[in-house]
């Protein structure tokens, strides 16, 4: 048992050494004057390529996004759960079908509730 855990520990050590070694080596080269250091605006950008960033990340988002995100996650998860059933409905027979129906019915109550409470409306 212990040797197997030792392998995990070795991996952990390696995982820690890898970034520390890289950053440390780069720092050392910088100190010795071997690595050039010429920052410019493009290099300092958040994304060196792609869409140019606009403003800071510290802005207020409309909290209504939260409702949509929440509902999206729920139905996303529903889809994930339906896949394993959809692959073998014959083997799972009637019992499986009833279980899936129950699951969807419970989610439907949630959707009906959100709809009725105007969570889906963008005021």
């Amino acid at each position: 048992m212990l040797p197997e855990w030792g392998q995990v520990g070795f991996l952990l050590l390696l995982a820690l050494l890898f970034p520390i070694g890289g950053i440390g080596f780069s720092w050392l080269l910088g100190r010795l004057g071997i690595r050039p250091e010429r920052p410019d605006r493009v290099k300092e950008d958040t994304y060196e390529c792609g869409v140019e960033t606009e403003g800071t990340a510290w802005v207020q988002f409309n909290f209504r996004y939260y409702y949509f995100a929440l509902l999206f996650v729920i139905f996303d998860v529903e889809a994930v759960f339906l896949y394993p059933w959809a692959v073998s409905p014959q083997r799972l027979a009637v019992a499986g079908f009833v279980e899936v129906l129950t699951f969807v019915a419970i989610l439907f109550i949630g959707l009906a509730y959100a709809w009725r409470k105007k969570a889906l409306e963008w005021l």
């Binding site: 855990w5 009906a112 409470k117």
Partner: protein, 492 residues
Amino acid sequence: MTDVIRLGPELALLIAAGLIVLMDIALPVSREAARTKRALGFALALAGVAGSIGWSAVLIAADEQGEAFSGTLVVDDFSLFFNFLLAGITGMIVLASADLLARTRFHAEYLALVLASATGMMLMAGAVDLIAIFVALELQSICLYVLVGFLKDSRSAEASLKYLLLGAVSTALTLYGMAYLFGLSGATGLRDIAEFVSASGGDSGTRAALVLATVFLAAGLGFKMAVVPFQMWVPDVYQGAPTPVTAYLSVASKAAGFAVVMRIFLVALGEGLISSDWATMFAVIAAVSMTAGNLMALVQTDIKRMLGYSSIAQAGTFLIGLAAVAAQDPQLLLGASSVVFFLGAYAFTNLGAFIAVIAISQKIASDEIADYAGVAKRSPWLAAGLAACLISLTGIPPTAGFIAKVYVFNAAVQADLVWLALIGVLNGVVSAYYYLRVVLNMYAQEPASEETFQPSLSLGVAMAIAVAGMFLIGIYPNPLIQASESAAAVFG
């Protein structure tokens, strides 16, 4: 079909919760409809609770016991005991919430969340598979996070956020412990894990990993049981949450937490070579919880905070029973049954105390203990009820708290944990100071105003049930002792 029948008590609550939400969205939005909705929701919630209790009774009468859903859930004397206990507590909480519901427009949400969380708690007591246990744990926790923030004022929101963050950490710890157990044994069923532990627990590497898993599980579930050093959230959450939810947290959530701990530790990790390790751990946590909880309760001026710290101390007392379980193998059942008995007795006592606090505090518009001065003159029955419950929490006969403490201390002494029993008794003396200070305040001080008041009907009924149950257990404890012995026998 047997599966569904055995899941009946939980399903009854869940169906009631679903119907309440459907009823809320089907009826029109208007002031008159709001009153109908409230009454209907109230009736549906109580019907769900009654259905759940009735179904549990049918399961007993039909002797319908055994595993369900491929061995993830089980119906046995232990889970049936907790079905009755938790459904009963939920019913009382619904009754005690009547005044709160009159002041909010979210009746349906509140009742549905309470019922859904009760479903989770029942599943916690009945689950014998790590995955099922985890799902049940989350079902009850997530509902409770919302309920704690139900008042939507700054204090309630703060309490909810704290509970959510610390709850998430505790969940992560629990899951980590479960992952270790699964990684070692390759099984999620508690019985399979138990087999693995007894087969290869002697290996020193395995044993070290098992102890690690045990510590993670105890830490994660310690949050749910609210024992030191995992108690940081208790005072703030208890103070900020609506008082019925505080009562629910302190009684039902705690009982369910202990049920899960007993299931995991006694079934999966009950093997002698590992249980001697966690028994010592629980003994230390018990001693620290009792002492720290009581000492901090001494200086509280807010009655909900005081009851919060007192519930930490009480949880420490429950843990004595758990520590006594493994210290000596033949005593396994005595320790376990003492915890189960204590949970039952504590439910009545603490519910009674909280319901009295709900009724008194909303009238005098304050939770300060100083403002309870002279309440005995203004509302003699409520004051008497609260005094009786506080006396029971102290552990003075002829109340339920006395029998429960004797039971637990007896288990400790039988298991050679005399020092722990001694600490428990000393703590009982300390706790008498702050419990009886409230009683003294109510009876010996002059009231701020002469106006008398009565609790609402549903609060009065809930209060009467709690106090009557408490005295009944104190005077004639045999039925509950027998029930808790047969509940504990499933671990034999």
